[in-house]
Symmetry: C2
Subunit: 267 residues, 2 copies
């Protein structure tokens, strides 16, 4: 297979093409596969991203730097980067993985990205690998909001309300459905000061609370037109909201029509 | 303070001495402290050790490489390295930390080591930092047994017995002492085929089981003189055994005199 296109998108021409081949080889395909390169590449990526964040955010403490890094190197982030450079078309996958669609599985693509970073590190050293990481993360880094990236919806809602001196939300389990091993929780989130009540659903109490918090955040942001645009954009990007915008109701309506609030489901 | 001695033991002369000073400065001493360098240095160390292991163990899979790395970069390992180069005498600590003996606290010394690796990385790049890591880890790396390092006593005992086709041990809680919030567990470990019965104690069932497994391992190794020397050495080093050697009893004696078996306590 012609790998020139991939090398161009990575911004690295391999001196040892065998390393590139190995990085693209899943264990289902060959005994010479990419898992050891992935082990190495995970560390390469961690250091490269740590350095980028260290330089970019001179005033951020190490706790926030760690949170940002964790979010930039996690599977979903790597999967998205793998898609931008079309890694899937170059994968060496075994018969079974091919049939079951392994070439689009996030874990396989994310692992392959790490293996590629490991391969570049072995091929040309850390600086070469860091250059590739910097190039691939350029667009992502330009967009992130260091204050919110990687925070969960409950934390974001709490910080949003605290910043406006509004009393914190309360969460109540209002129903559970299903058998013990497969329960579904319904949790309401109340922000009394703003007359917001929304209901989230999920396979655990925690998940249902997070679902409710996401909806509540949408609701309170919608109520604050001045700050709405900025905050909503931040929220959407960082928590990957794909939930319906919550309706906001008067407390009376809440009590009378419990089925009405927006319901978000979180896996 | 004259830092030449430290630079010599690190094997790195700083072009930017301010970075070295910052790496040695605890947050209790100054607003310009070492925590951001520690964040960076943690990644530097991870990659440097990953690369050393990748090169040294060409046949080990990434799961075992991860286990080895985790053990080499953990606080205790860094603390021991900090002691070999006498980092404590160079620390910049605040009044309170000085009085409470912060200069010998493992967490402070381990964090400082990471900060030093971060500082060297910024001062002269990854290869310079990796060279320092390689030098400091040389003695440690020469000694490790990749099959056992970082495995707990129960795992080691199980693998030892499996390797000799001996039936696996059983663990039973035989007594608990103390109030609910401060309980002490007594757990026996039985290897019936070898007539081994030992008792471990600990603040949790898990800790007591590990204590018992350590003693049982000592006992079964003592029973196998041929392989004893090698395995015992491995065991001592890797699980830091400081327990009395377990006595080995006949099953009858076990039942009649439950107070007799060797008792090991694990925190």
């Amino acid at each position: 297979m012609d790998l020139k296109g991939l090398e161009e998108r990575l911004g690295h021409r391999f001196k040892q093409p065998a390393l590139l081949q190995q990085a693209l080889t899943h264990r289902s395909f060959s005994a010479v596969h990419n898992e050891r390169l992935e082990f190495l590449g995970d560390s390469v990526l961690n250091l490269a991203v740590a350095h980028l964040l260290y330089d970019k955010y001179a005033k951020i403490d190490e706790g926030d730097l760690s949170r940002l890094r964790a979010n930039l190197v996690k599977q979903q982030a790597l999967f998205e980067i793998a898609q931008t450079i079309s890694v899937s078309q170059y994968l060496n996958l075994g018969e079974g993985e091919l049939k079951s669609g392994g070439f689009r599985r996030p874990s396989i693509l994310a692992d392959t990205m790490e293996a590629l970073f490991g391969a570049i590190f072995l091929d040309a050293g850390f600086d070469a690998a860091a250059k590739v990481v910097r190039k691939l993360y350029e667009a992502v880094l330009a967009q992130i909001d260091p204050k919110t990236l990687g925070k969960d919806a409950k934390t974001l809602l709490q910080e949003y309300l605290q910043g406006r001196k509004i009393a914190l939300p309360t969460y109540n389990v209002i129903a559970t459905h299903g058998a013990a091993h497969n329960q579904e929780f319904e949790v309401e989130c109340l922000v009394p000061k703003l007359d917001v009540r929304v209901v989230g659903m999920g396979g655990s109490r925690r998940a249902a609370e997070q679902g409710a918090a996401k909806l509540a955040l949408e609701a309170v942001v919608a109520l604050a037109p001045a700050a709405a645009k900025r905050a909503r954009k931040t929220t959407r990007r960082d928590t990957q909201l794909s939930l319906p915008v919550a309706t906001v109701q008067t407390p009376q309506a809440d009590l009378l029509t419990p089925a009405e609030p927006a319901v978000g489901k979180t896996a």
